[in-house]
Symmetry: C2
Subunit: 165 residues, 2 copies
DNA sequence: GTCGCTAGATGATATTAATTCTCAAGTGAG
DNA sequence: CTCACTTGAGAATTAATATCATCTAGCGAC
C-alpha cells in the first residue's frame, strides 16, 4: 500500500495518516494546528507509548518554542476526544498510545517496557455481566518479563516508578 | 471462623487479622510498629483502594504526629514485601489494595470508583503464550459505569484526574 | 522481668518530578 | 477581518521521594 505515484513523490505513509488525521479533525470541528499534528504524528509513529515528557523533548527540536503545557494539554484533549489512549500502570507515569483499537499491553515488570500486543483469544473474551455495573470494556495487561530482562537473571523487582523515556 | 471465646471477649475479627499480620511480620523479621499496624489495618478494612493521601488523613487523627513520609514509605515497603498491591488508576495516583489474592478490578470511568471483583471465569483465563516474553500474570480491569453514574445520564466524560478520597 | 544496645523506623522538612493553571499574545477557519 | 480557540511562558499545585536527627522495636545480657 501507499505506493508512490509520479505526481506525489513525497507522499508516503506518514503523509497519508496526516491527511487522514486532518480530515477526521475537520469533520469533528477540531482545529488543526502544527502542534497537534506533530503530537499525533509522533504517537502514531512511535509504538513505545511515550510519556508526555518524552514527546515534548523530541518535538521541541522540530518546533522551537514549543511549550510543555501544550503537550500536556494536547494529550489530554486527544484523550478526551478518543483520538489516543492513556495507558496507566501502577506506579508509572502517564504514557500514551495512538492505537485506540482493541488490543492488549505487554508490560515488563523489570524494565517497564510497554508494548502493544494483540491476542485474538483475549479480544473475544466474553465481557462478564456484573450486577449493578455496566461493563463496557476489558482492559487487559500481560505482566511478566521481557526477553532481555528474563535472560539477565537478576531478580531485581522494579521498585518505585518506572520512568521510561 | 473467628468465634469469640469466654476468655477473649474483646477479640473480634479486627484483632484477629491484627495478630495474623503480626505473626506474619515476625516470621519474616519485619518490625511491627503502631504505624505499620494502623496502615495495614486501614487497607484491610477499607476496600475502596484508598490513596496514600487518604490513608494519611484518616490515620493522623488516631496517631497524632504521624508523618506523610511514613505513609508513603510504609505503603512502598508493604508493596515490596507483597503484603499489599498498588493498583493503577486513571489519573495515575497510587491506590492500594490489601487484597493480594487473584481478583480483578471494576473501574467506573465517570466517578473513578474502584472496586475489587472476582470473576471466576477470568481467573481461569488461560495465560497466553507470547513469543520472547515470559507472561506471569494477567492484570484485568473491567471498565464501565457504576450504578449511580449510569443512572445520572449526564454524559460527563471524566476529564483529568480522578482524585478519589 | 528489666536494662541497655543497635539496626532500623519515624517525623519534620526540603526537594524533586509530573502535571495543571493563568493570562497575555497569537492564529486557524469561517 | 474577526473571534473563539490555541499557544507559550512561567507560576502554582500536587504527588512522591530524599535527608537527617531522633526515636524505638526487638534482641540478648543480666
Amino acid at each position: 500500500m501507499s505506493r508512490k505515484t509520479t505526481t506525489t513523490r513525497r507522499r508516503d505513509e506518514v503523509t497519508d495518516w496526516c491527511s487522514e488525521f486532518e480530515r477526521l479533525c475537520r469533520s469533528r470541528r477540531i482545529r488543526v494546528t502544527p502542534q497537534r499534528l506533530a503530537v499525533y504524528r509522533m504517537l502514531a509513529e512511535d509504538l513505545s507509548h511515550p510519556t508526555a515528557e518524552s514527546v515534548y523533548e523530541r518535538l521541541s527540536k522540530q518546533l522551537p518554542g514549543l511549550s510543555q503545557a501544550t503537550i500536556y494539554r494536547t494529550l489530554q484533549f486527544f484523550e478526551s476526544e478518543n483520538l489516543i489512549r492513556r495507558v496507566s500502570s501502577p506506579g508509572a507515569i502517564g504514557r500514551f498510545d495512538a492505537n485506540v483499537g482493541p488490543h492488549q499491553h505487554l508490560l515488563c515488570r523489570a524494565c517497564g517496557r510497554l508494548e502493544d500486543i494483540s491476542v485474538p483469544e483475549l479480544h473475544k473474551a466474553r465481557i462478564p455481566h456484573v450486577e449493578g455495573f455496566k461493563v463496557e470494556e476489558l482492559d487487559i495487561r500481560l505482566v511478566g518479563l521481557c526477553g532481555s530482562c528474563s535472560r539477565s537473571k537478576s531478580s531485581i523487582k522494579r521498585r518505585g516508578k518506572t520512568r521510561a523515556k
